[in-house]
């Protein structure tokens, strides 16, 4: 019973007109409320329910993901990536988000979610073009149904809602899963997206990776809500709180949310409590705003170690299996390293090719200007006897 339903408390009630029907809460908020504690499977009795096949699959992805993060971070130090926002420590969220989706579903990642895109099947090099700087999006979003990595905060969330809504209008049982960080939940687009999704009952799952910090601002300065999952209630959708380092728990919670959306049950807001072990990016100094003690505590709750422990308790972490997983991860890293160490072939004329379907007269003039500048540059270099050494254009457009 809610406060508004407490009747008979006011004096002389009969002298007062009955309140209009819109007076009471429209839905019972209780079923929408998240659990008091984040949902966990590993380390609890319920862990026994997790299928071994899923556990080994998650493990393989997590180890590969950790290695991918390490390799990408190394590539920033070598200047091959302009920046890399690492998801080290958050691999369980990344992997689970990708694995719970069917092929026809869509993933809407933020700039920190390259690993989720890779786990979904995207070529790791294509997933990194934004961060390398050769192009904003290196892939066709429709090919793997992964939206462009989104740099502004939370603005991809309404896209996910609109896409899912459109799919439902067309009669397709497609679900969109949109990822956002704790800082992103303060943005207006977060609010508008959740509100639209709930009003439209759009098949969307919002996954908030609460990693503790928005660059340096801790959660306590980000929100006064009991939890970020509690925000769901205000929109009329269920909120789920889950251990963001517990891969099977995430997989289960997100799968349920995806299935619920697919059945027409509407959106869900999932808050995964995790931790950003590395700094925000290589440009950040995390020692200014957090202690090594805190980081160490979270290292003790590492997503890979948690799964490893469950696998060894089941006797599944054989030397052969562990080696096979490590080899796979090294192979991924080596391939990424080799390919990223090649200079990308860039065509400067691409600058004008994709502004409009048909370049405007002004863009055609500017294209001609750049072409002439490049020709002059090439001639200049040729006359200095260095020929095409600096010609990285690779190709000429007709």
């Amino acid at each position: 019973m809610t406060v508004l339903e407490q009747r008979g408390s006011s004096r002389n009630e009969s002298h007062w007109p009955a309140p209009p029907p819109a007076w009471r809460p429209r839905v019972d908020p209780a079923p929408l409320l998240p659990d008091a504690e984040p949902y966990r499977l590993l380390g609890t009795d319920a862990a026994a329910r997790v299928e071994s096949g899923l556990l080994t699959e998650l493990y393989g992805h997590l180890v590969r993901g950790r290695r991918y993060n390490a390799q990408a971070t190394a590539l920033t130090r070598q200047g091959r990536l302009a920046v890399y926002p690492s998801s080290t420590g958050q691999e369980a969220c990344q992997v689970a988000a990708a694995l719970v989706l069917e092929e026809r579903d869509w993933l809407f990642p933020s700039y920190r979610d390259t690993l989720a895109a890779v786990a979904r099947g995207l070529d790791p090099v294509q997933a990194l073009t934004l961060l390398r700087g050769d192009w904003h999006t290196g892939y066709d979003p429709r090919e793997h149904r992964v939206a462009p990595l989104c740099t502004p905060l939370a603005t991809q969330l309404p896209h996910a809602v609109g896409l899912a809504h459109a799919a439902r209008l067309k009669g397709d049982d497609v679900v969109a899963l949109a990822m956002v960080g704790d800082g992103g939940t303060s943005e207006g687009d977060f609010h508008e997206a959740l509100n639209f999704a709930a009003v439209w009952q759009a098949p969307v799952v919002f996954l908030v990776q609460n990693n503790g910090f928005a660059i340096s601002v801790p959660l306590a300065k980000q929100t006064a809500a009991p939890s970020l999952a509690h925000k769901a209630v205000g929109y009329g959708m269920p909120g789920r709180l889950v251990d963001g380092n517990d891969a099977p728990a995430l997989h289960q919670v997100l799968s349920e949310a995806v299935e619920r959306a697919r059945r027409g049950g509407g959106p869900t807001l999932v808050e995964a409590i995790t931790y950003r072990v590395e700094a925000h990016t290589n440009a950040d100094d995390a020692t200014r705003y957090r202690t090594e003690d805190e980081v160490e505590q979270w290292r003790g709750h590492d997503p890979i170690a948690l799964v490893e422990r469950e696998l060894s308790e089941r006797g599944l972490l054989t030397d052969a299996f562990a080696q096979q997983v490590r080899d796979g991860a090294e192979e991924l890293a080596a391939g990424l390293r080799d390919r990223m160490n090649q200079d990308p072939a860039l065509d400067p004329m691409d600058l004008f090719a994709h502004v409009y379907a048909e370049p405007t007269a002004q863009l055609r003039e500017q294209e001609a200007q750049l072409r002439a500048e490049l020709a002059a540059e090439a001639e200049d270099e040729a006359s200095r006897g260095r020929g095409a050494a600096h010609d990285t254009t690779g190709k000429e457009r007709p």
Partner: protein, 344 residues
């Protein structure tokens, strides 16, 4: 609606009716076209531009959204990503600003950031401009903001035929269009047949609305009728003014504009938006760059003052009117020119 139009043939139709008809025809022709926004459903929009669409096409095709412009634009982006062609209404010029992050960061650059893999056919209808006695935040001329955003097309009709033709073209375009509807022309009427609409020039083409030889008035949207009136009045001074209606600010039709200015040797840009940082500065610069040796006088601008849009009881002082246009035309150094056509 316009059921009797066939019998009656061409009859006076308002710009609002032509826009309504354009939406209706676009929706009938292509099931991917979806209209959405605040109040576009049962109410038919506060200006009734979407009148009757929900009855004809259902809520799924013409739906009321929550009151949130970023949400309207942002969800429309996702809908376009899935193959629909959303047409969203921003209700009033200044109400669109919460949606500008979506507009600038996503709508305008989706094609570009995906290297052409993901075009974004999205039409953003914005009732704009003053002259209707609207209170604060209901009369802004926001075209400069749209114009400063590469990847967007910016279109504004000034005639009933263009209202229909340009809106159909905007919806059919594979690129996003900021479709700016001059509010005070919603009730302007013209003989026009909705059942056999006369073809209009495509997006990106300017039109000469009135030929003349002495000077060119370059204008668009709500200022076109004012310029036409000024051009008529100018004949009393012996000035023969040409009036160019841009129709589309992006793409910009340098060819038509510059051909006209080279012919007349003088140009005045007229618009309601504030002059400093306004579209007129860009247009004057383009004309000067391309026509300098043909010009008999500097390119002048008649624009709104550089003030936040004034309260309605004072707006007539802010909006460019016939007198201010004629005063400016008078400053075009006519005395220095007694040799008509020497510019050629």
């Amino acid at each position: 609606m316009t059921a009797t139009a066939t019998e009656a043939g061409r009859k006076p139709v308002s710009m609002a009716q032509a826009l309504n008809r354009a939406l209706r025809d676009a929706m009938a022709d292509d099931p991917a076209v979806h209209v959405m926004g605040e109040d576009v459903g049962e109410l038919g929009g506060v200006f009734r531009i979407t009148d009757g669409l929900v009855k004809e096409f259902g809520e799924e095709r013409c739906g009321d959204t929550p009151l949130a412009e970023a949400g309207i634009l942002g969800t429309a982006v996702g809908m376009a990503m899935y193959g629909l062609r959303p047409v969203v209404e921003m209700q009033f010029d200044a109400f669109a600003y919460p949606g500008f992050e979506q507009l600038i960061s996503h709508v305008a650059r989706m094609r570009n950031r995906t290297r052409g893999a993901m075009p974004l056919p999205l039409t953003i209808r914005v009732p704009y401009g003053g002259g209707i006695g609207g209170v604060e935040h209901h009369s802004d001329s926001s075209e400069a903001y749209y114009l400063a955003t590469p990847g967007l097309q910016v279109v504004t009709p000034a005639t009933v035929a263009d209202a229909y033709g340009l809106l159909r073209a905007a919806i059919a375009s594979d690129d996003p269009v900021a479709f700016l509807e001059p509010k005070r022309l919603y009730w302007s009427r013209a003989d026009w047949s909705p059942d056999a609409p006369a073809p209009v020039a495509p997006l990106g083409r300017a039109e000469i609305r009135r030929p003349g030889s002495g000077a060119t008035l370059i204008t668009y949207g709500p200022s076109l009728p004012v310029c036409m009136e000024a051009a008529e009045a100018a004949t009393a001074e012996g000035w023969d003014l040409e009036v160019v209606d841009l129709r589309s600010l992006q793409p910009f039709d340098d060819a038509t504009v510059c051909a006209s200015v080279r012919r007349t040797g003088r140009a005045v840009v007229v618009h309601e938006a504030s002059g400093f940082g306004g579209p007129g500065g860009e247009i004057a610069a383009r004309v000067t760059e391309r026509c300098f040796h043909y010009l008999e006088a500097p390119v002048l601008r008649v624009a709104g003052f550089d003030i936040p849009y004034p309260p309605p009881m004072l707006e007539r002082h802010h909006l460019p009117g016939v007198d201010r246009i004629l005063d400016t035309v008078g400053r075009l150094q006519w005395e220095a020119d007694r040799t008509e056509g020497s510019g050629d």
